[in-house]
């Protein structure tokens, strides 16, 4: 009820501080900080525990069933060092990232633009809805033979495979985010005489941004999968090519070294996009903080 104070002195200078700078009891703050950091340390400790558990598990499995079933973690490490130092991994990474980044960027651009059309124009949305969902429901690997026939086996064709994979999730979450925009806010904007154009850009689109960003996150994950599949199925290249070569020769330590890199890429991409979401959405971020 802190606002009641301001109300009575309407129109006079106020001494109230904005909420962010409200005076806090240093003791309370310190205690809360301590509690949070204890929790954080516990989480980190448990995570390290999980990693140790996995490594020990790998050693045990290796001891029981041999190198083919499960390589020794130390061999995986040695192989990783070797692949990084002789440039194999770097070359593979560069090839993969080219396909992944270009495929994802085209998918993001076209998916967001298309989603704006589908969500912003009711008629367009209604006409295309069944087709979009049919195509989205088709596994993107199913398009690979067609892409090979049309575009060949190399980088451009792989980019197109990634684009197909990532396009639909981005398209659909953009369209549904705009379509399900907050009617109350739209009516508010219209009641002030805002044009359709302004309502779209300043109300519906920002309102849909969380949905668009989560579409991008899904799209990025799907694009990573698409990149590896394209590299396995088409002209072998990049990390997917390394993966398949190592697998075919049963060099499981090499195989695992590549898998580790793929895991890191996936984590970095989704983590990065989550960070963007977090920074961008001041209001959502602080809502989350409040719930901590």
């Amino acid at each position: 009820m802190s606002e009641e104070g301001t109300a009575v002195r309407l129109g006079q200078p106020r001494a109230q501080k904005p909420p962010a700078e409200a005076a806090v009891d240093p003791d309370v703050a310190a205690r809360a900080r301590r509690r949070r950091s204890r929790e954080r340390n516990l989480v980190i400790l448990l995570r390290v525990g999980v990693v140790v558990f996995l490594i020990v598990g790998m050693y045990l499995l290796n001891a029981r069933s041999g190198n083919l079933t499960m390589p020794k973690p130390s061999d995986v490490f040695d192989e990783s060092v070797k692949m990084w130092s002789d440039g194999t991994m770097l070359r593979g990474l560069r090839e993969s990232l080219t396909v992944l980044v270009l495929g994802f960027l085209t998918a993001a651009t076209s998916g967001i633009l298309g989603g704006m059309l589908l969500g912003g124009f009711r008629l367009v949305g209604r006409v295309f809805d069944p087709f979009v969902h049919a195509l989205n429901a088709t596994p993107s690997a199913a398009f690979i033979p067609l892409v090979i026939v049309w575009f060949g086996l190399f980088t451009e064709a792989k980019i197109i495979v990634v684009w197909i994979a990532a396009f639909f999730p981005i398209l659909i979450s953009t369209a549904s985010g705009i379509d399900q925009s907050d009617n109350d806010l739209v009516e508010m904007a219209r009641s002030f005489g805002a044009s359709r154009f302004r309502v779209f850009w300043q109300v519906m689109l920002p309102n849909a941004l969380p949905s668009i960003l989560s579409g991008l996150r899904i799209g990025a994950a799907v694009a990573t999968v698409g990149t590896v599949i394209a590299e396995l199925q088409m002209a072998q290249s990049g990390l997917g090519g390394l993966l398949s070569a190592a697998g075919n020769r049963f060099e499981m330590d090499r195989y695992f070294a590549v898998v580790l890199v793929l895991m890191v890429i996936g984590t970095l991409i989704t983590g990065g996009l989550r960070l963007v979401e977090y920074r961008f959405w001041n209001w959502r971020a602080s809502q989350r903080d409040a719930n901590r």
């Binding site: 009820m1 802190s2 606002e3 009641e4 301001t6 109300a7 009575v8 002195r9 309407l10 129109g11 106020r14 109230q16 501080k17 904005p18 909420p19 962010a20 109350d184 806010l185 009516e187 508010m188 904007a189 219209r190 009641s191 002030f192 005489g193 805002a194 302004r198 300043q202 109300v203 920002p206 309102n207 941004l209 959405w281 001041n282 209001w283 602080s286 809502q287």
Partner: protein
């Protein structure tokens, strides 16, 4: 009373004779005519007048406001604002039951939204928004986000946003209904004070009879299914009501008794109105407040 019958004269404003808002035999139904929301409603509001629409929920109060704002068109009859068919925009501004602030914009940017619709830019727009925030006592919260504000403060921002565009008519749809009793009382007084300074015409919707009497110069009592006018009563209370406890004045008590009588009659009149008793929180008027 029609204007605009003659040839359109560019530049010269058509002389506005008669009331600022005028409704004549207005009817509106929804769902292809299955739900008759309101029927044959006629009343006028003069410039600078404070009029309340009172009635149980479902009697078409919101529909009336949306008709006056020009968000929807009447099926029958005629709605005129300043002699013309209303269009959302220049002359009208709405305040809603929930503040309807854009959560991704800071408080001041929310107000700037309405000003931008009016074509204000840059510094001027910002300063105007800050001035309005000052007038509702929230200057220090300009850069806060809506979720950091209490319900009462959010509602003040909604009011400031509406006042910012200097409307001829302020349309308020149960703006205080979701607030706690203390905040509600404070905001009523603030609203009266602001109105006494600005003399904007206000059409105030509420289902709280005391609130209607306390605030307005005229109370329009509606009855439901379909929404019709039951009675229009003048409120002859002193101007500066925020300075005293108007509820203790004999005129206030008399009006409240009278309006409750009408509502009890509504309840008695038909089986179809059975729910009415529950639509008003307590169909028996509360005892006179203790004189302070």
């Amino acid at each position: 009373m029609r204007t605009g019958d003659g040839p359109a004269s560019s530049g010269a404003r058509p002389p506005v004779t008669g009331p600022l808002i005028s409704l004549r035999g207005v009817g509106k139904s929804f769902k292809d005519g299955q739900v008759q929301a309101i029927s044959d409603i006629s009343f006028d509001v003069e410039g600078g007048e404070f009029v309340s629409l009172v009635g149980p929920s479902g009697c078409g109060k919101t529909t009336l406001l949306r008709l006056i704002d020009g968000l929807i068109r009447a099926d029958e009859g005629e709605v005129l604002v300043a002699g013309k068919e209303p269009r959302p925009g220049p002359d009208l501004a709405m305040v809603f039951q929930s503040a309807r602030l854009m959560p991704w914009r800071s408080v001041v940017r929310n107000i700037e939204f309405a000003l931008a619709v009016r074509g204000l830019r840059g510094r001027e727009r910002h300063e105007r928004a800050m001035a309005l925030l000052g007038s509702v006592g929230l200057r220090d919260f300009a850069n806060a986000y809506p979720h950091e504000l209490s319900g009462g403060m959010q509602q003040r921002v909604g009011l400031a946003r509406a006042l910012a565009v200097e409307p001829k008519v302020l349309l308020m749809d149960e703006p205080f209904a979701a607030l706690d009793a203390m905040t509600r009382e404070t905001l009523r007084r603030e609203l009266l004070l602001l109105w006494s300074r600005r003399r904007t015409a206000v059409v105030f919707v509420t289902h709280d009879i005391e609130e209607a009497i306390f605030l307005s110069q005229r109370v329009i009592l509606l009855r439901p299914r379909p929404g019709r006018i039951d009675e229009i009563v003048e409120v002859r209370l002193p101007e500066r009501r925020w300075e005293l406890d108007a509820r203790a004045l004999p005129e206030f008590v008399r009006l409240r008794e009278h309006l409750w009588d009408r509502i009890r009659n509504m309840v008695r009149e038909g089986a179809e109105l059975e729910e009415l008793g529950t639509a008003f929180p307590d169909a028996v008027p509360p005892p006179d407040p203790p004189r302070s």
